[in-house]
């Protein structure tokens, strides 16, 4: 079969084209660029301040690391919002408007539409994340020469977090209305967020019940756990050892098992979305 004509590929390209036509790509790109410029100016100002009275190599490195993680934290948050906002309507909206009728009545299997759209969004958001995350790391490196440890696996984990939310948004979109889907995904995101914080406090205060609350919320939706792991990978060994409480650092890192859980979670949720969309009346 001609690969250019494979349904999944056609739908994935359509998703890209829609985002481009609707100015989503441009808006995200231009604002992302402004974000990087603002971040770069801010970082440069602080860098110059440090150069005036260097506080010692170790402390300097910690400040750079903190600044970098603050930038990546915002990138991670922006990516989550963008992922949900752009994809929340893609299935539910097409079902509600009826545009899906002309698609589904073609000689294709419905899951191909879901997978095609998912791949389209995944690719799009991955580009966004790589440009923004890579931009932040690049700006810091260009100005100060600081490079975080394990940058690749860190960004990889951020991508995993994005794919996780994307799958949830797809499952919701195959089942709920656009609005209900948005409420559901952000609601879950909120649970993960607060659960992550409670876990951090728990770890800080050595309170096992608080840690358990965090673990349970991570099982419900592991998006925050994945971010914590990403932050843990990219922070300095000093922060790792001595800890500290900030959203940008992670003294108690979720285990590799949790990362594996997140991978399986995303895959299963995506499969459920394909199954659900295949079953429902349109």
């Amino acid at each position: 079969m001609n690969i250019r004509n494979a349904t999944i590929w056609v739908i994935a390209r359509l998703t890209f084209r829609e985002a481009s036509r609707r100015w989503v790509l441009w808006a995200a790109g231009i604002l992302g660029l402004i974000f990087l410029v603002v971040y770069g100016i801010g970082f440069y100002t602080i860098h110059r301040e440090i150069l005036k009275e260097p506080p010692g190599q170790l402390v300097t490195k910690e400040i750079y690391g903190f600044m970098l993680m603050a930038g990546l934290y915002v990138v991670n948050f922006l990516t989550a919002i963008m992922t949900v906002l752009t994809s929340v309507d893609t299935l539910a909206g097409e079902i509600a408007s009826g545009t899906v009728h002309t698609l589904v009545s073609k000689p294709l299997r419905r899951w191909e539409i879901v997978l095609g759209k998912w791949l389209g969004f995944a690719a799009m958001m991955m580009v966004y994340l790589l440009l923004m995350g890579g931009g932040v790391i690049g700006v810091v490196y260009a100005i100060s020469g600081y490079m975080p440890p394990h940058a690749l696996s860190g960004v990889g984990l951020m991508i995993l977090g994005m794919l996780l939310l994307l799958s949830i948004s797809f499952l919701g979109g195959a089942t709920l209305s656009t609005l209900a889907n948005g409420v559901m995904v952000f609601g879950l995101y909120g649970i993960a967020f607060i659960g992550g914080w409670i876990e951090q406090f728990g770890a800080f205060l050595n309170n096992q019940s608080a840690v358990n609350v965090g673990i349970i919320s991570s099982l419900i939706i592991p998006s925050e756990a994945v971010w914590k792991r990403a932050a843990y990978e990219m922070q300095s060994s000093l922060v790792r050892t001595f800890g500290g409480l900030s959203p940008f650092s992670s003294p108690s890192a979720p285990s590799r098992v949790m990362v594996l859980y997140a991978v399986i979670y995303a895959a299963v949720v995506l499969c459920l979305a394909m199954w659900r969309f295949g079953k429902r009346d349109l």
């Binding site: 545009t99 009728h101 002309t102 000689p107």
Partner: protein, 306 residues
């Protein structure tokens, strides 16, 4: 080898919650015919069409399209469909829209580049090929939707209300397209409210109500069949009126006006001759065909299925 029927449904049923949308639809549409699917609002027409195309899963029953189970998505390779509300991706241009759907039919690139302009020409949208669908009128959307349904040169084309948004020129276009499809040997399944359109285009019609077929009529018999005749003549004595009973059991006289039903046009001259021979002055004699609308009301009733 016998050619399979275009559409065959047996005891098709669909229930939404507690609402029975289609109760028991058994229907056969033969190859090469233009088949009208008629019924009042809420009769289950669109639900039935959606089941045929795999948009809705039936609660029970069987469906075969062109001899293949409708559950097999591959059969839709040979089917064209124009949905009722023709809502399309309006950020695409007319050309892009057709290219997209041609790709979904897995048509080769070279064929797509040839076929898309041809179809735009056919539906009169060549001038608007590069325009986005967002700016299209309802009629233009319906035309592009129709072109989309013709991309794969389907053996069976299902049109859900194809002319509802169209002006008279557009309707004629649809009629011509349907005629062309029929000449090619394709089967057309037409779901329409516009009885006058159905009357002109269809070979057979099914009347459905509450998701059940009430009657299937050939429109050929409608043309050749029973007609009512209005006569204005003087004097219409009781004897003259009684003498008409050899042609019609259904005669009503009121002063100089006479209404009678005849089995066919052939009896008309004889009735006229009889009246003249009886010394009656005939001022007018008007045969009236039973229209599809009359038949519709007769079969479906006036309650609209509510």
């Amino acid at each position: 080898m016998t050619v399979s029927n275009a559409i065959e449904t047996t005891h098709l049923r669909k229930i939404f919650g507690s609402n029975v949308a289609v109760s028991d639809l058994t229907l056969t549409v033969e190859r090469g015919e233009v088949f009208g699917f008629l019924g009042p609002n809420g009769a289950g027409k669109t639900t039935s069409v959606k089941m045929l195309l795999g948009l809705i899963a039936p609660t029970a029953g069987e469906m075969r399209l062109l001899g293949v189970s409708a559950k097999d998505h591959r059969i839709r390779q040979r089917i064209g469909f124009l949905p009722e509300h023709f809502r399309f991706h309006d950020w695409l241009t007319a050309s892009e829209f057709l290219q997209l759907h041609a790709a979904l039919y897995r048509m080769p690139e070279t064929v797509i580049h040839q076929r898309v302009p041809e179809l735009l020409e056919l539906v009169g949208l060549s001038q608007h090929a590069a325009q986005r669908l967002r700016g299209f009128s309802k009629g233009m959307l319906q035309r592009i939707g129709l072109a989309q349904a013709l991309l794969n040169e389907p053996d069976l084309i299902i049109l859900d209300e194809p002319t509802s948004g169209l002006d008279p020129v557009g309707r004629r276009l649809v009629r011509d397209i349907i005629r062309g499809l029929k000449q090619r040997g394709a089967t057309v399944f037409l779901n329409s409210h516009l009885l006058s359109e159905v009357e002109i285009t269809c070979d057979r019609v099914a009347f459905i109500k509450h998701g059940q077929v009430l009657q299937i009529s050939s429109l050929q018999t409608l043309v050749e069949g029973e007609l009512s005749v209005q006569v204005r003549a003087h004097p219409l004595t009781p004897q003259v009126v009684a003498g008409l009973s050899r042609w019609s059991q259904n005669v009503r006289a009121d002063g100089d006006h006479l209404m009678l039903t005849l089995p066919g046009e052939a009896d008309l001259p004889a009735v006229n001759r009889y009246l003249v021979e009886q010394g009656v002055d005939v001022f007018s004699l008007q045969p009236q065909k039973v229209s599809l609308e009359d038949l519709f009301i007769q079969v479906v009733g006036t309650d609209g299925g509510l």
